[in-house]
């Protein structure tokens, strides 16, 4: 994995450039990189996978459960949510915005995350937005207090969304391994980051979401994604998330936890 430039060059900048122009200059690929997040969040997994794809190292600052650090609150005052990427001291927020940013800054490292053709980019952005619109909210009944009806409805929504994504996969992949083709791309990251929680919901609800009969393409894609270098060590085991969901439900009950 290629390292970011050592902090020695960062020191050179700060010692010789007056502060005001240091603040205003554009960030370069070698500047200091921090990612605020935690191990369980699908949204945080997205930039982590992107960094892996690009072979870029960064400092991972894990938030303490139940608390928001001063750095997080200062860096994302609007939403107060993770992930936040801090590049050369400047924050970038919202997981998919961060992934596009990574793709642009490190455009010469690793594969392109977004395609080059504008139409293909629009299609990739559409499906990534679809994942955010239709899937990410459905986890709520499993990490908070919820009745069986709410959980059943969430499962129904997830199954329907995955069906659409199966069709999208067939169209986008054109027989190759990933939505983006031979290597992992934007939609793969957007959806793949959710695999841990989707599998945890399978355990919690006793349903099969990645059903080889209903969604054969995605079922195999999920296996490939999780065993890829880019996702290695990032997608948590379902058992860990099932445990964690208990802690989330307890915390929600005590109304102390700000939601993700």
């Amino acid at each position: 994995m290629r390292n970011a430039l050592p902090s020695f060059s960062h020191f050179l900048w700060t010692s010789s450039i007056p502060e005001s122009s240091h603040k205003n200059r554009a960030m370069a690929a070698g500047d200091e990189l921090k990612l605020i997040g935690n191990w369980a969040s699908s949204f945080v997994a997205r930039p982590r996978i992107a960094f892996n794809l690009k072979g870029i190292q960064y400092e991972f600052l894990q938030e303490e459960f139940g608390k928001k650090s001063d750095l997080l609150l200062k860096s994302n005052p609007v939403h107060k949510k993770i992930p936040v990427l801090i590049h050369g001291g400047k924050p970038v927020c919202e997981s998919l915005v961060i992934v596009e940013y990574i793709d642009q800054i490190w455009s010469s490292s690793g594969p392109s995350i977004l395609p080059t053709d504008p139409y293909d980019r629009a299609v990739a952005r559409f499906w990534a937005a679809y994942v955010d619109d239709k899937l990410t909210l459905q986890f709520r009944p499993f990490i908070r207090e919820a009745d069986e009806a709410a959980k059943a409805q969430a499962i129904e929504q997830m199954v329907a969304a995955l069906q659409h994504l199966e069709e999208a996969f067939e169209k986008c992949s054109k027989g190759k391994s990933f939505f983006a083709g031979d290597s992992i791309g934007f939609v793969d990251i957007a959806l793949g980051s959710l695999i841990g929680w989707l599998r945890a919901v399978e355990v919690l609800a006793g349903v099969k979401l990645f059903d080889e009969e209903r969604i054969p393409g995605l079922a195999k894609w999920a296996e490939r994604f999780c065993s890829s270098d880019a996702a290695m060590g990032i997608i948590p085991e379902p058992a860990e998330l099932v445990e964690f969901s208990k802690a989330l439900r307890d915390a929600f009950r005590s109304a102390a936890l700000p939601s993700n």
Binding site: M27, V97, E100, Y101, Q104, R121, A129
Partner: protein, 222 residues
């Protein structure tokens, strides 16, 4: 999906999401065919072009559909980059613009809708939230002429400006003044209205308010 050459926009006259696309196309001087959709009876072309959501706006470019207004804006910007660029070239500035356009998407329409759809305590809550949103946007604008900068009517400006023609209806329904709470934001809206693309696309606030009245009847709101 092969088809007719050129640009077609499937849209509904009052939709702020559709207006984003109309403004961007006008800013860039792109010729297109506007097709008004009846959402109660969606056209075959709309259903075929956006089978997943069946929503407008949909931009068809040489027959190929692009869906979701902010995605359409980015597509337009990438295909026709030379005139009136919407997104800056610097990656950090682009990330900031995308963040704020996403903020507009997440907050303005949803909260604004609650202002006319709800009553009592829930409406009061929505009003407080909306004021917070307006102040947050105003802080981001700062002293710039536009969100995109002093000389750039950009991505965030186009994303937000259509909602300004709904401000009057929000105010009338919830009983407050957005100008009193966020004067710089309202001043920005007036500046935007001086641009031909905006002036020709946005409807008179009274007309929007009339439309909201129809929606209220439909949803059984007093």
């Amino acid at each position: 999906m092969a088809g007719e050459k050129g640009v077609v926009l499937l849209d509904v006259w009052v939709s702020p999401f559709g207006q984003r696309c109309r403004i961007a196309l006008a800013e860039k001087g792109i010729e297109y065919e506007y097709r008004e959709e009846n959402l109660a009876e969606k056209s075959e072309l709309l259903v075929k072009s956006n089978p997943v959501n069946k929503k407008i706006p949909v931009l068809l470019h040489d027959g190929k559909p692009v869906c979701e207004s902010l995605i359409i804006l980015q597509y337009i910007d990438e295909v026709w980059p030379h005139k009136a660029p919407l997104l800056p070239s610097d990656p950090y500035a682009r990330a900031q613009a995308r963040f704020w356009a996403d903020y507009v998407d997440k907050k303005v329409y949803e909260c604004g809708t609650r202002l006319w759809k709800l009553k009592g305590v829930l409406q009061q809550e929505a009003k407080e939230e909306f004021i917070e949103i307006a102040k947050t946007l105003e802080a981001e604008l700062g002293d710039k002429k536009y969100f995109g900068g002093d000389s750039c009517f950009g991505f965030v400006d186009v994303a937000l400006v259509p909602f300004t023609s709904w401000f009057y209806s929000y105010e009338a329904n919830a009983g407050f003044s957005i100008e009193a709470e966020a004067p710089k934001l309202v001043a920005w809206a007036k500046r935007c209205k001086q641009r031909e693309s905006v002036a020709k696309t946005l409807y008179d606030p009274e007309k929007v308010h009339e439309f909201v009245g129809i929606l209220k009847k439909k949803y059984g709101v007093e």
